[in-house]
């Protein structure tokens, strides 16, 4: 399959999927905006009304972490199932197996634009007007996509071996919720060694702090860290693609026999 064809197929499959999903709901595409708004409202109720922790912009702080993380968890959770879920197609078609994880990733990406718009709207409501610095969000989003793609490809491959791993992945994304700095600020951690370890080993910690840096503090994040992260993610992604190519027929055989 040629590269252009691969991208066309990923794009059209994702758009059709979203269209099909929207066609079943009364409010259809409106849910793309409504869902994140409802999320914000739930968090507002819990953290501002019930728990009221004193920090004036705590809700904004939370959402700048929660929304990027939500993109990660949703993509990885659904993408990890993508190979076993497409058993019917895989049994009948000799296509690159990366196709299926990428379709779910693309679906999540298309939805994420709406969610980011809600986030940006919220940032502006809190009095932070857009500056040129916001352009630095683009590399962040791209690197986060790479990170999500690496995790999803690994997840989907592992689930094709042992389906039980799905459960572990779900637990893993909950673990990520608490260790990625959605509820706490990495810059307030006193233990320097722990702080560095978190930043290095959990890319979401760095990414979330970088989003906040642009959107709340209006400062540029550590670009060297981003460059290093890009390199590592690109290398991992290339490795995964090689592995998928090598394993393509064995993946099909396993899924057909399961």
């Amino acid at each position: 399959m040629r590269l252009k064809q691969f991208f066309e197929l990923v794009d059209i499959q994702a758009r059709m999927s979203l269209k099909a999903e929207a066609s079943k709901l009364y409010l259809s595409y409106l849910w793309w905006i409504l869902e994140p708004i409802l999320y914000v409202l739930v968090f507002y109720f819990v953290f501002d009304v019930v728990l009221n922790n004193g920090r004036a912009d705590f809700l904004l702080f939370l959402m700048c972490g929660k929304i990027p993380l939500l993109w990660f968890t949703k993509s990885v959770n659904s993408g990890s199932n993508s190979l076993v879920q497409n058993k019917g197609l895989i049994a009948q078609l000799d296509v690159p197996k990366t196709l299926f994880p990428y379709i779910t990733l693309q679906e999540a990406l298309y939805k994420q634009w709406a969610v980011f718009l809600v986030l940006f709207g919220m940032v502006i409501l809190y009095g932070h007007n857009p500056t040129l610095n916001w352009l630095w969000l683009l590399p962040l989003i791209i690197v986060q996509y790479l990170f999500i793609a690496v995790c999803t490809l690994i997840g989907a491959l592992l689930v094709s071996y042992v389906r039980d791993i799905r459960m572990l992945i779900q637990m893993g994304t909950i673990f990520m919720l608490f260790t990625s700095g959605v509820f706490w600020d990495i810059n307030l951690i006193k233990n320097e060694a722990l702080k560095q370890a978190l930043l290095i080993w959990n890319p979401m910690v760095y990414l979330i702090d970088a989003y906040r840096s642009i959107l709340i503090r209006d400062q540029l994040y550590d670009t060297q860290h981003l460059a290093a992260l890009t390199g590592v993610m690109a290398a991992c992604l290339a490795l995964m693609h090689g592995l998928y190519r090598l394993e393509s027929k064995r993946i099909a055989a396993r899924i057909v026999a399961s």
Binding site: E8, I12, D94, K249, A253
Partner: protein, 236 residues
Amino acid sequence: MSDSDIILTAQNVSLTYKTRTGWLKKFQHQALSRISFELKRGDKLGILGHNGSGKSTLLRILAGIVPPTSGRVICPNGIRRSLLTLGLGFREDLSGRDNALLSAMLQGHSNRDAKAHLSEIKEFSMLGDFFERPLFTYSSGMRARLGFSTALYSGIDILLIDEALSVGDATFRDRAKQALDKKLGGDQSLIFVSHMPGQMAALCNHVIWLQDGHVKLAGPVAEVSQQYEQQLINQP
């Protein structure tokens, strides 16, 4: 014919399934055992066998989807082979048009190519306005018509077909048969899988009879069909 006309070779193809049935419990099943044959350009090969004889599994291996446990399938570079599958990747909540587009693209057409074929598919499927409606409003016959019409538009060297002809009502069946005959004329190679010798006689010239994963008999279609039917009658 020279060797260069051989477009698909199976050499001692065997397949063993290992299925996990419980914690550390495995079930092993020899689905295919040492199957060998050659397919030349323009050949129409039938694979005949009862349910569970391994014919669909063999087709999947020949299509290059799964690897055999041992043995080899050799297909020269540039030869395109594909399973003709009815309703490949169809989704209930999308319209006939969208499904046809998706399916054609999955079979290797570019977006532009697939779109160019949509009016032909619509015309051939005789679905009329239903072409624009979601699939869950279709009857099973309409679904089969859409599936067949979509699958037919794929330009490939070796067609692999799994008992696909019994679709739709009588009128459509005739159209389907004619369209297939037209497509199969000349250089188009075919591997057709069925448990019915009748269908086989209409499409194939050479037949392999599979039983429990072994080649029971191979030869001209009339001869193999006759023995196969004989066995059907003799069975209690």
